[in-house]
């Protein structure tokens, strides 16, 4: 070898040669061969390459739809609706479909973690689509974790320990309720942003006032001919969207009669409003007035003595106040009166006004005109789930404020949080952040690294919904009492543990009352004990001779429900024989715009970390991946703001910055912001994206305890910034923007 050409150069060349060869011949052996592991013990029911299907329950919202998940070789591949499940009859919504993006989400809590409050759980400030995201590794084992829980149970007095959980009434709620009852712990509190925006407290309070029974009313759209919806966005996220969508199809396609007619009264056209035959943009705050006016006009049309409820209202004045032509109102009222199957539904932002309860009562009372209570095509009370004796609604925001105050006063020393992300879902005005900092020990059982998990001392991650056992009560949407069953469709992907199991183990360690209150080997045994009584009930859709068969069938069918059932008939004796107030809403704030916050139909409260949900186009605006504020184009012109201008929305309490979407179907004096994005944690796809309109809410409540999310007036301030909001639609094709003058 000459010194000009060293051995190293030779090796380099040879290396290049080999690499080139590997590339040219279609990659080397490393990429050509894969390893395959056979089953250790092939289950009897499967062959390689064949799918196995498991029935379970969707946990993306509290509705409790049944799922059937296709799995193959231990991986969950596709979610479908459970065709036997009476609530959803084989269908799912987009969020149910994307539940796999939760299961296989790249940002999950991978094991028990102890960390200092506020410490991040994954690297942030990284490009969510190309960057590397090192997650914080689990730094505890489950024995230690269990010990922590046991210590918390024993260290503090029972009344210093509290539980905060999600909206769903599920097995964990039952477990904690039982535990609390036996040991004197504080009873668990359930809350979720969806229940806040659905104003469940108002609905059930109205039901109590009118019908004498606190329950969620159910509206049988499918049997109706004319439906007046006062802001209820039942096609999107409202209560049980699948059941109501089915009802809507029934309304549209009633085979024996004419196509049903849907009228939507709301200031901002929701998707439901978009599908409606008529959209009446009434002045926010006048819903009760309009309902009463309609009632009076309809009653007069029918003839007979005017009932007390509608006696005081002046329809002409109401029409003027609501900004509706009197003729329109009259025409609609006559339609309502003339058709046999009329139905009126309260909902949406109208219930979140200071007169929300009055709105709910007035609209519900309209149903007395066709007297559809308890009938097909009318208003009924939701069927109670099996094992349930009365409707147990989640906490209202007002109750959450009380709970927060208890935390802030230091009365609660240990807080367990499961299935809810209060730092995001609770309006900022309640200052949960501060309250949390006053609690000595905060333990989160979050599956994902959400804001509350970040602010907790410990995270003891529960399994993802598809990895866990359980059941969930279906609270509305079907006439049948349903207990929807859940089972793991795949084995846990990470080192997570079922929260019930954690508590069972901790209770054993804690001993005393705790141990005796939880005489179960594990979560499954607890579940079996809970569903065992159903075996002896008649009318179930399957029967079993012994408990194991019953349990197996329960899992196989995805739950237990009766083959026959009926909605509860409300007691309607004096619905109309009372004073109903048509008072207009008092709005909080000095601004000139009514604010309509609505839940993003694709993201809802917890979908922001699922990339395909983010990329789904919003049904009304087709916006993806962000938050926007909808402003009437004429208003925007007056304010000299354009699409994608960032504006500051200022309320009495706070401010958010969002980009403008000029929305043609909104009142000029109203703006709307979707709830769903605006996370400061919760994984790479959610963090730092958009804004949260709940930051604007003031801590003021209507009579039923629901926060005044629909009762705000806000100001708009220009910021001079621009922010592109990705949308599926073409601005040129749909709005003729940039197409030149015609």
């Amino acid at each position: 070898m000459s010194k000009n050409f060293s051995r190293r150069d030779f090796l380099k060349l040879a290396g290049v040669g080999t690499t080139a060869t590997a590339v040219l011949t279609g990659c080397g052996p490393a990429s050509r061969y894969v390893k395959r592991e056979p089953y250790m013990q092939m289950p009897e029911y499967t062959y390689n390459g064949q799918s196995t299907y498991y029935a379970t329950t969707c946990r993306e919202c509290a509705a409790g739809c049944g799922l059937v998940v296709r799995t193959m070789q231990g991986r969950a591949l596709k979610v479908e609706g459970n065709a036997n499940h009476p609530l959803n009859l084989g269908k799912t919504c987009a969020r149910g479909q994307a539940t796999l993006h939760g299961l296989y989400n790249p940002n999950r809590v991978r094991g028990p973690i102890k960390h200092s409050r506020g410490e991040r759980l994954y690297a942030s400030d990284v490009d969510p689509f190309n960057g590397e995201f090192p997650d914080v590794a689990a730094n505890l084992n489950w024995d230690d974790a269990t010990q922590v829980v046991a210590d918390a149970l024993t260290k503090y007095k029972p009344n210093e320990i509290a539980f905060l959980m999600g909206t769903a009434s599920d097995h964990l709620f039952d477990f904690v309720t039982d535990l609390a009852a036996a040991t004197g712990l504080n009873a668990p509190v359930r809350f979720g942003a969806l229940s806040m925006f659905e104003a469940r407290a108002t609905l059930s309070k109205a039901s109590e006032n009118l019908f004498g029974e606190a329950s969620l009313p159910f509206f049988d759209l499918g049997g109706a001919e004319v439906v007046f919806s006062f802001g209820a966005n039942f096609l999107e996220t409202w209560l049980s969207p699948l059941a109501y969508t089915r009802g809507f199809v029934g309304l549209r396609e009633g085979k024996t009669k004419l196509r049903g007619y849907l009228v939507q009264f709301e200031a901002r056209m929701s998707q439901t409003g978009g599908k409606a035959d008529e959209w009446i943009p009434i002045q926010p705050g006048t819903e009760a007035l309009v309902a009463l006016a309609l009632g009076r006009l309809a009653f007069e049309r029918r003839g007979g003595a005017l009932p007390r409820a509608f006696a005081d209202v002046d329809p002409k004045e109401a029409a003027e106040k609501a900004g509706v032509e009197f003729e329109t109102l009259e025409r609609l009222a006559f339609m309502f009166a003339d058709k046999a199957g009329s139905l009126a539904i309260p909902g949406g932002a109208a219930l979140g006004q200071s007169n929300g309860l009055e709105v709910a009562e007035a609209v519900l009372a309209l149903n007395a005109i066709p007297d559809n209570f308890g009938k097909r095509g009318g208003v009924s009370l939701s069927a109670l789930a099996p094992t349930q004796t009365e409707y147990h609604r989640p906490a209202s925001p007002k109750e959450m404020e009380e709970f927060t105050a208890k935390l802030a006063s230091g009365e609660i020393k240990a807080l367990f949080i499961h299935g809810v992300n209060p730092l995001f879902e609770l309006p900022k005005a309640l200052d949960f952040q501060n309250a949390l900092s006053k609690v000595e020990q905060v333990i989160s059982f979050a599956t994902f690294p959400d804001e509350t998990a970040v602010a907790a001392d410990y995270i003891f991650p529960d399994h993802h919904g598809l990895e866990s056992w359980g059941y969930q009560r279906v609270f509305t949407g079907s006439a049948l009492p349903i207990l929807s069953g859940a089972q793991p469709v795949v084995s846990p992907f990470y080192d997570t543990r079922a929260t019930v199991d954690v508590f069972l183990a901790a209770a054993q360690l804690a001993g005393g009352n705790f141990a005796s209150a939880t005489p179960f080997k594990d979560e499954v045994e607890f579940l079996q004990s809970k569903i065992a009584p159903l075996m002896n009930e008649t009318g179930g859709h399957f029967s079993a001779v012994d408990a194991p068969t019953f349990d197996a069938s329960f899992q196989q069918y995805g739950g237990w429900w009766k083959t026959e059932g009926a909605f509860g008939a409300p007691n309607t004796a004096d619905v109309l024989n009372r004073d109903l107030s048509g008072a207009e809403s008092q709005f909080v704030g000095e601004g000139e715009f009514y604010l309509v916050p609505f839940v993003s139909p694709t993201l809802a409260e917890a979908g922001a970390n699922k990339p395909w949900l983010q990329e789904l186009a919003d049904p009304t605006t087709t916006v993806m991946w962000s938050t926007w504020v909808e402003i009437n184009p004429h208003t925007a012109e007056e304010l000299q703001i354009d699409n994608e201008d960032v504006v500051k929305i200022i309320s009495e309490f706070g401010a958010v910055e969002v980009a403008v979407y000029k929305y043609p179907a909104i009142r000029p004096d109203t703006i709307a912001i979707p709830f769903g994005n605006g996370h400061s944690a919760y994984g790479r796809y959610a963090e730092g994206r958009g804004a949260n309109p709940a930051d604007l809410f003031s801590a003021e409540y209507n009579q039923a305890g629901d926060i005044l999310f629909g009762g705000l007036k806000v100001k708009i301030e220009k910021t001079g910034k621009k922010l592109a909001i990705p949308r599926l639609e073409s601005m040129m094709g749909v709005y003729h923007e940039g197409m030149g003058e015609e």
């Binding site: 999107e236 196509r259 395909w612 983010q614 789904l616 990705p726 639609e729």
Partner: protein
């Protein structure tokens, strides 16, 4: 011995006599635009998400989209009926003759427009030919960070950059159903299986089935609602009928 010319992969049927095999009926009157079909399709067919920048720039990969327009101005404004738009599986498809590589071919057996990913060189000519604008192109190798790939459907090829793709009428499900039926020595029954979008649709706005069988649900509905086909005037012979609603 058979030759290429026997394959009829580019055989053209021009007349009204054309009868497809698989088809859909879409009832826009009940479509609520809820996007469940979009999500289901993406989950079933391993469609990548593209992120905020690319999606805002018109590079979403979804095989089905829901269109809506506005009519009139406030307060008389009206949202038009939601219109799910996906590959119409034309009998005489404008995308097919223009592909120089035969990556977009007509399946004579299934009467579908096939997209053969591994043959595609990415000229994107088919997408220009398609009057429905339903083809999506893999502009990049869109990342699906671990462990998201765990949910890949093994029956559907995962596409890489530079490849065109589009709705296949869930051909993997067609094959599965036909294979099952054949193993049991029978024909595929109507409603035995359906596409991901039709299966998930909460409003049952999408119905899938055999359009060459007058007894099938899809044929019945098409007849009952007098379904219309999109851009029929172009002679594309689409296999999806729409009921535009009242």
């Amino acid at each position: 011995m058979a030759t290429v010319s026997d394959l009829n992969i580019s055989e053209v049927k021009l007349s009204e006599e054309y009868v497809g095999k698989w088809g859909m009926f879409i009832n826009q009157d009940v479509c609520t635009g809820c996007q469940a079909c979009v999500a289901a399709c993406s989950m079933e067919n391993n469609i990548p998400f593209v992120g905020d920048e690319d999606s805002g720039y018109g590079r979403t990969m979804n095989w089905i989209r829901i269109e809506r327009f506005w009519e009139g101005e406030y307060p008389e404004v009206k949202m038009t009926q939601n219109q799910p738009m996906m590959c119409q599986q034309c009998g005489h498809a404008p995308c097919e003759p223009v592909c120089p590589a035969f990556a977009t071919v007509h399946s004579q057996t299934q009467q579908l427009n096939l997209q053969v990913y591994n043959r595609c060189v990415g000229t994107r000519y088919c997408a220009n030919g398609c009057p429905y604008q339903v083809r999506s192109f893999n502009w990049r190798d869109y990342k699906r960070p671990e462990p998201l790939p765990n949910q890949f459907n093994p029956d559907v090829t995962v596409r890489r950059r530079g490849v065109m793709e589009k709705c296949t009428f869930c051909i993997q499900r067609i094959h599965q159903a036909e294979d099952k039926a054949r193993s049991e020595g029978r024909e595929v029954a109507d409603g035995e299986f359906t596409t991901a979008c039709a299966q998930v649709c909460p409003a049952d706005a999408i119905t899938f089935g055999r359009v060459d069988n007058p007894e099938s649900l899809v044929s019945q509905l098409t007849k009952e609602y007098q379904g219309v086909r999109h851009l029929e005037e172009l002679g594309t012979l689409p296999n999806i009928s729409y009921f535009k609603g009242a």
